[in-house]
Amino acid sequence: MKRISVVIIGMGRMGKTRYEAMKRHGGYDIIAVCDSNAANLKGYDEKIYEDWQECIDENDADAVIVCTYNVMIPEIVCYSLKKGHAVFSEKPPGRNLQDTLQMKNALDQSDNLILKFGFNHRYHNSVIEAKALLDSKILGDVVCARGVYGKAGSLKFSDEWRNDTSLSGGGIMLDQGIHMLDLMYYFMGKFISIQSSVDQLVWKDMPTEDSAFSILRTEDGRVASLHSSAIQWRHKFNLDLICTEGFISLNGLLTSSMSYGEEKVSYYRKDLEAKDGKLGKPVEHTMCFDTDESWDYEMIEFYKAVAENKSVEQGTIEDAVNLMEMLERIYCC
C-alpha cells in the first residue's frame, strides 16, 4: 500500500477525529501535528508544533489536514496549495463565500492539486442508502424535501468560539445547518431561489443566530424547507424526501455524542391502489445502522485522490462554492 505523509493543523476535537480515522486507514503517515493550544498536543508521538506555518514548512508532507477555526481555514489552505500540498479541510469552507472563492482561486492557480472539504454526513450509512434509492429511480424523482437539524446549545453556548463571528463567520446555520443544506444539495441540486428567517429566538446575548428557517427552490421548481436550530433542546436529525413514486425518511444520526438517536432510513413506494391493504398506509421498510464509518470513508476517498490520482467525488471546491453561495443568500434574506 502506497503511504502518504500528512501533517494535521488543529488538534481540537476534529483534528483528533481525523487523526484516529487516518490511523485506522493504515495508508497515512502522520508526521506532525500542530495546535496553537499546547494542551491539545499532549500525548502525541509525532513532531509537534504550535505554529502552523512552521509545521508545513519544516515537513515536506504530501498533504495538509486543516482542522482549525473557520477564520484560519482560507489562509492555511491557500498557503498549503501554494506550497504544492494536497489539502483536506474541515467544513465550513471558510467563514463566507469570499473565503471560499479565495481558496478556489488558489486551487485554480495550482498544478492540479487536490482540495477536499470534509462533509462527512454524505458518508453516513443512511445517506448512502438514501442516495442509492434515489439514483436507482425505484421511487422516481425527488420533488421536495423537509429537513430539521437541531441541537440544544450548551450551558455556555454564547461563549463558544462557534458563536464568535470573528472566528466562525456565522451561527448554527453555518456550523451545523450547512450539513443539512449540503445533503439537500446532494440529493436535489443547487437551489436558486431562497427565502429565509435567521433569528435569535432564545440566545439573544450572542452575535449569531440560534435558528434559521429556509425555503429553497431549484431551477426546475423543486422545493425544500430547512430548519437549523440551536434551540431544539433534544438533539434531532430528520430529512424527508418526497419522490414522485414514493418517500424516503432519514431519522437520527450516529455521532460521537450518540444524542441524535438511532440512525435509520425508511422508505416506501406509493400505493394508491391500496395493494398493500390500506390506502395511505403502504408497507414501509426501515434500515437501522449501528456503526458510523463516515470519517473512515471520507479519509479513504481523500487517500485515493492523493495516492491513486482518483478524482475527488464529495466535498469538491465546486460543492463548497455552491454551498457558500446558498448560505450567503440564506443569511442575506
Binding site: A132, I138, K275, G277, K278, T286, C288
Partner: protein
Amino acid sequence: MLRAYDYSEDSADIMELKNERLFNEEKMIAQEYVIKHSLKTESKHCPICNSGSSKFIFTRWDINYQFCNDCKSIFVPADNETLYDYLELDKMKKLRLSDEYQSEAELRRAAIWSDLVMWAEYRSYRYLGKNIDLDIIDYGNRYLGSINRFKESRMCGHYDLQKSIISMDTVHLECADVVLYLNQIQHESDPEYSLRCLYEKVKDDGILILNTRLGSGFDILTLKGGIDNIFPYEHILLPSKRGLEILLNRSGFELLEITTPGTRDMETVLKNKDRIEESNFFIKYLIDVADHSILTNFQQFLQKSGLSSFAQVIARKRKSL
C-alpha cells in the same frame, strides 16, 4: 459488511401464504414419501459449520431434527439420494405445477413478490451501481408469478431459470450479475457444495441474493416440533444467522448484508399457541395478554434484532477462494 437491520411494517391483515387444502396435500405427499424412505445416514455433523456437537431438538414424522451446539443451526442429517428422489417426486411436481397451486400462490404472494423485486432492484443498484438490463440466473424458483415478475422487471436483461420444476425457454447464462437463490437452501444436504456451484455462476463483480427460513427464528425455537409449516424432507436445513455467515464465508463469498425482515413469527406462534410447551411461561403469558399492537411491536423487535425466522442475504465473490 453493512451492519443494518431491516424491518417492515405490514399494513394489511396477513393472508396465509398457502391455501390450507393444497398445503395439506403437499404435506401428505411428503409424509407418505418420508415414511417409506428413511434416511441413509447417521452422521450428526452440522452441514453448515461441520461441528460434531449437536443435540436433538424435535421430531417430525419420526425424523429427528438436530440443533448444532456451535452455530445454532437446525438440520436433519440427510443423504443426497433420498433427498434427490424426494425433490423429483412426480406427484409433488404435478401438484406444484398445477394451475390451482400457481394461481393460489399468485393470489397470496403477489405483494411479497413485488416487494422482493423492488428490493432486489434497490440492492442491485446499491452494490452494482446499476439495476437495468442485468443478467439474472434464478436458481430453483418454482413459482411462475415470481419468475414472471423478475423476468418482466426493468432490472432484467437476460434471464435464465435453472434447476426448476417449471420448464421454460430461457437463454443459457454461464454466469450472471445477479444470482437468485430463493428458499432453496432449506432442502440442501450439502449446502457448501451447492454454494460453491453458485459461486461459479456469479460474475466477478456480481451478487448472490439468497433468502431462507432461519433456524434461529422466534417461531421455530418457540414451537419446535409444534410448528406446522416445517416438515421433512422439504426442510432439512434451517441455518441460523451465524450459520449463514459461516457457510457463505466457507463457500468463497463475502457477506455484504444479512437482514431478517420476516413478518410472520408471531402469527405462526399465535396460530399454534396450543403447541407451545407448558414450561415456556413467558411466551404463553405474552400470547395471553398482548394485544395486536404489542405483538406487532414484538415482531418488529424480532426483525430488527436478527431474530425473525426469515433472512435475506446479499453476498459477492471474494477475490480469491
